[in-house]
């Protein structure tokens, strides 16, 4: 068994996960992700997962060892924010060519590491393994070890090639790499009894900073955030924290659990999405810290902050509640976000018609049931076609989802809000909740939807014609009908001769005077003389067309 296979097996054996614990030995070996179905799979690969989990470390150089596809097609695509270094946004890849694949890519990797150190001198380099070097047998662990010694700098192998599994597995493999090579390798400058770790928080759109002021106010220090706005030194010394909060439970539970095991850092699963969840998380943090020796007044101060913030946020959301009355939302997202956002939306007075549970754990599902009631519509796996139909049939007024399914909603001319990683707004904490409600309102009440749902003028006319035989509508829709109507206009009222008859006669016989017209038709030519003269001088081509 290779070391990678062993690591994957270890991850599948996760005592911190209730779902995993309830499985039989054999089941557990199969892992926790469903077998991918060729031809209808949509998610990212394990490399994607590892990169996503670690890329928010801002001062680290992230080097992707693989052909151009892995990094060239994917870099600079996440909205994590940094308060310091921007090195994480620079893309490094060995861009393997055919020759490298024939002769092996290890030398090139080593050279690449040296080039990065010469150019940027980062505190550490993370080297990501991808499918092809894994296939041809490039030993990145060995290269990284040699490079670490040679350059006296941490060079960390992240062994998570795409084909070993899903994005989620990649998150965990990234966590394993941190546990094996990074955490506990340095000591913090100083410690306080209120030091915490946030695990699985990526600071997308800078949303961590919506919560940080509250923590600062309470005197709680984020020793290390894994990995949003993180720095190498912080994560390397994160083993000295007093407590930890696991923010995205699905992605890095192994990190939280093993840190508890190794360093005795207690953790809890929490979320800063939604009012209740934010309050609960703050409370839990304070409780864990006090249990581990923080001053007991932290609890009281935390309650005071929570009370103040909750009052503020309820007052801010209040005005929206009547506007949201009777509005239904459909939530398509992964994992932890589903229940935390369900609660948030309900507080704003929205009714939820369904939420996806594809990536949720059993616990997540229980929470959703609790929140939404027995008949909650939990969507295991909804095809885009079903989503589209649901929106089109107006079973929902707004859809909240990730970027990939946005067009399903938008093409159905339905309001849609991005709540995944590519979004540009921050929705965390109390401030974020108000922002989310504001955005939903902006989207729901946009006058644009009304205009877009209106049928095009030709469709409207066609419909009108179907429903009631309106002569005007019919003529506007059908040029032939319009022509018949024009020709039916009476010219000689006395003998009931219409325009068509006169035009035909003029064209057929080449008539040029009123007298001639009188000869060939029944027209009297008395009171209608002027009108006939008018027809005689009008454009002959029009008349010819009419006659034909």
């Amino acid at each position: 068994m290779t070391s990678l296979a062993a690591t994957v097996q270890k991850i599948f054996d996760e005592p911190g996960c209730a779902k995993n614990g309830s499985k039989s030995e054999a089941e557990r070996k199969n892992g926790c992700t469903k077998q991918l179905l060729p031809g209808s799979a949509a998610g990212g690969c394990a490399f994607d997962g590892a990169k996503v989990a670690l890329q928010p470390f801002t001062d680290v150089a992230h080097l992707v060892h693989g052909p151009i596809a892995c990094e060239g097609n994917s870099w600079d695509n996440r909205g994590a924010a940094s308060s310091g270094s921007n090195l994480w946004r620079t893309s490094f890849t060995t861009d393997l060519s055919e020759t490298d694949i024939v002769f092996g890519g290890e030398k090139r990797l080593c050279k690449a590491i040296k080039e990065i150190i010469d150019k940027c001198d980062p505190p550490a380099i993370f080297v990501y393994q991808t499918c092809i070097p894994a296939m041809i047998g490039d030993d990145i662990n060995a290269v990284c070890k040699a490079a670490s010694q040679r350059f006296a700098k941490p060079v960390i192998p992240i062994n998570s090639p795409g084909f070993v599994g899903s994005k989620n597995l990649g998150n965990k493999l990234a966590g394993e790499a941190l546990l094996d090579h990074v955490i506990g390798t340095q000591e913090p400058d100083y410690t306080t009894p209120c030091d915490i770790n946030l695990i699985g928080e990526y600071n997308l759109s800078g949303e961590l900073w919506q919560v940080k002021p509250l923590l600062d106010e309470l005197g709680i220090r984020i020793l290390s955030c894994i990995s949003g706005d993180g720095k190498y030194r912080e994560v390397a010394s994160s083993h000295r924290a007093r407590a930890a909060m696991l923010v995205c439970s699905k992605s890095m539970i192994n990190v939280a659990r093993k840190m508890e095991q190794r360093y005795g850092i207690p953790f809890f699963e929490g979320s800063f999405y939604g009012i209740q969840d934010s309050s609960e998380s703050l409370r839990q943090l304070a409780r864990l810290l006090v249990e581990r020796g923080a001053p007991a007044d932290l609890l009281g101060r935390t309650e005071a902050v929570i009370a103040r913030e909750e009052a503020w946020v309820r007052a801010a959301i209040g005005p929206y509640k009547p506007r949201f009355e009777g509005k239904r939302a459909l939530l398509i997202t992964g994992g932890v976000k589903s229940w935390s956002i369900v609660a948030a939306l309900q507080e704003a007075g929205l009714e939820l018609v369904g939420t996806s549970v594809k990536k949720s754990t059993r616990n997540d599902k229980e929470r959703i049931k609790e929140l939404m009631g027995r008949d909650a519509y939990m969507i295991e796996d909804m095809t885009p076609r079903e989503m589209y139909k649901m929106l089109k049939d107006a079973k929902a007024d707004i859809m909240l989802s990730g970027g990939k399914s946005q067009f399903v909603a938008l093409k159905a001319a339905m309001p849609w809000l991005d709540i995944n990683q590519e979004r540009c707004h921050a929705y965390m904490g109390y401030v974020g909740m108000v922002k989310l409600v504001e955005e939903i309102d902006k989207s729901l009440s946009s006058p644009m939807w009304e205009q877009l749902r209106r049928p095009a003028p030709w469709e409207a006319l066609a419909k009108a014609m179907e429903q009631m035989p309106s002569p005007v509508a019919a003529i506007a829709c059908d040029p032939a009908l319009a022509e018949t109507a024009r020709r039916a206009r009476k010219i000689c009222v006395c003998n009931a001769v219409d325009l068509g008859t006169i035009e035909d006669a003029i064209y057929a016989h080449g008539l040029s005077s009123v007298a001639a017209v009188r000869e060939h038709t029944n027209a009297v030519g008395g009171c209608c003389r002027r009108r006939i003269e008018g027809i005689l001088v009008s454009d002959p081509s029009v008349m010819r067309q009419a006659a034909e």
Binding site: L36, A41, A42, A69, S91, C131, I132, T383, A412
Partner: protein, 469 residues
């Protein structure tokens, strides 16, 4: 003659290049009812999908054979078979386009043989066209994948002469390169139709990715050229290929059907369009419509107005060979100097680019060259935004991907009108940048003690600075 330099670095920093398979998949997206399928691990597809979605802001059909570690070791036959059957049953496509990736090329999957086996085993697929193109990640770049895929589509789908009725001299095949946007293709369609010609675009991404709202939800492409229309391309009087990357496809077309072809390497700029119009007039037997005489005048006037701002600029461009050749040519024609040129892959047009040197490299190289040569205009795809911010240069986004601005699909650069638009956009960018960053101050021209006199603060600061540079 430009000197072409290949990279010596082991580590590409801030890549300019995208991979071949997604270029190939992009070509299939211009076919109606198509489902492009990448034969590789699911990340290959997911990255490409995200890239297309962010560029076009459209739903994009793209599937994967989801190769696992075990499948990679044992061979990908089962995955490919399952993927095709799944797509066939779930999305009812009119065609499936299969591109290989690095993984399946490295383990040596013989996809052509797999497809034969799959067809034998599943007779229900008899009428479903399956086009396979070999596009390893570790060779070539985006535009190579596109060119190869179109050549394969022609090879597999177009029928020989006489198979589809009589030749029709007014029918014209257009093989556009991947550097043309849906907006460009629509513009070309109008131009050809104004000459009384009846164009078939292969691929036609204007039909599928122009941002229209379909009545029904479809999991495959929502427009583009139909398989039947591709089959009958042998009836056309001419094939027009746009961009050198399409040469191979045009040649395959000629060999297969006898339809003669002409390649237009550029469609941006006054002279290239004069040539294009003359050619259309010849093959259609019609005079150049009045509309285009007016548009030509407008372009000439735009060039006069804009040369004050574009002329003399030192431009740094990073793009795929054909786009680089086209845009740098137009800017050179306007009097700009193409000081830094970086491209992604080999092509026979590179040597003819109007620059001293063309580097096959990445955005780090482009940034470095732009800095050392004091360039004052940066042109590349959206990934250049960090470099532009660091260098404080006006930045024009072009090419793929363009994920941080809207309307990527409608950016126009072909024809008299498209060139006029492009010139205005670039010139306005330069003007706005100067207004924001380059207000003269009393000390601007003061000579600091011991420093050589210069006419500007730095050479990117406007006309005065450039005159000595």
């Amino acid at each position: 003659m430009a000197i072409v330099t290949a990279p010596t670095k082991a580590c590409a920093v801030n890549p300019l290049k995208m991979s071949q398979p997604i270029g190939g998949a992009f070509a299939f997206m211009g076919l109606r009812g198509a489902m492009p399928l990448l034969h590789g691990s699911q990340g290959c597809t997911s990255f490409g999908l995200t890239l297309f979605v962010r560029h076009f802001k459209e739903a994009v059909p793209l599937q994967t054979t989801a190769m696992s570690e075990v499948a990679t070791v044992l061979g990908g036959y089962e995955n490919l078979e399952q993927a095709i059957l799944n797509i066939y049953n779930r999305t009812k496509p009119k065609i499936i386009g299969i591109c290989s990736t690095g993984v399946t090329e490295t383990n040596g999957d013989d996809v052509d043989a797999y497809l034969k086996l799959i067809r034998c085993k599943h007779p229900q697929l008899a009428k479903l066209p399956l086009v396979y193109v070999s596009t390893p990640d570790f060779k070539g770049a985006f535009q190579d994948g596109w060119g190869k895929a179109v050549a394969r589509i022609v090879e597999v789908l177009v029928e020989g002469p006489g198979a589809n009725g009589l030749p029709d001299p007014l029918k014209v095949n257009v093989l556009p390169g991947c550097h043309l946007t849906p907006g460009d293709i629509d513009e070309l369609r109008v131009i050809l139709e104004d000459f009384g010609l009846c164009p078939s675009f292969l691929p036609d991404v204007a039909g599928s990715l122009d941002g229209h709202i379909p009545d029904e939800f479809t999991p495959t492409t929502i427009g583009g050229i139909g398989v039947d229309e591709i089959e009958s391309m042998g009836r056309a009087g001419w094939t027009i290929a746009i961009g050198a990357q399409m040469q191979r496809a045009a040649e395959v077309m000629q060999v297969k059907t006898g339809v003669p072809f002409r390649i237009f390497e550029r469609l941006c700029g006054l002279c290239p369009n004069d040539e294009f119009m003359t050619f259309l007039s010849e093959i259609s037997g019609r005079p150049i419509p009045l509309k285009y005489r007016r548009q030509r005048g407008q372009l000439a006037d735009a060039m006069l107005d804009a040369h004050f701002h574009i002329g003399g600029r030192k431009v740094a461009i990073g793009a795929e060979p054909d786009l680089l050749f086209d845009v740098s040519g137009m800017l050179h024609d306007m009097g700009a100097q193409v000081t830094a040129a970086v491209t992604t892959t080999q092509s026979e047009v590179i040597e003819r680019i109007k620059a001293k040197e063309v580097l096959i490299g990445d955005l780090e190289d482009l940034e470095g060259l732009a800095k050392t040569h004091n360039c004052d205009l940066l042109i590349t795809h959206s990934h250049g935004r960090q470099a532009a911010a660091r260098l404080k240069l006006p930045f024009y986004r072009t090419g793929f991907p363009m994920f941080d601005r809207l309307g990527a699909g409608h950016q126009l650069s072909v024809g008299y009108r498209g060139t006029r638009n492009l010139i205005f956009e670039i010139a306005n960018l330069v003007i706005a940048h100067r207004e924001e960053n380059d207000q003269p101050t009393p000390d601007r021209w003061r000579t600091a003690a011991g420093l050589p006199r210069c006419s500007g603060y730095r050479s990117s600061t406007g006309a005065a600075g450039r005159s000595v540079a």
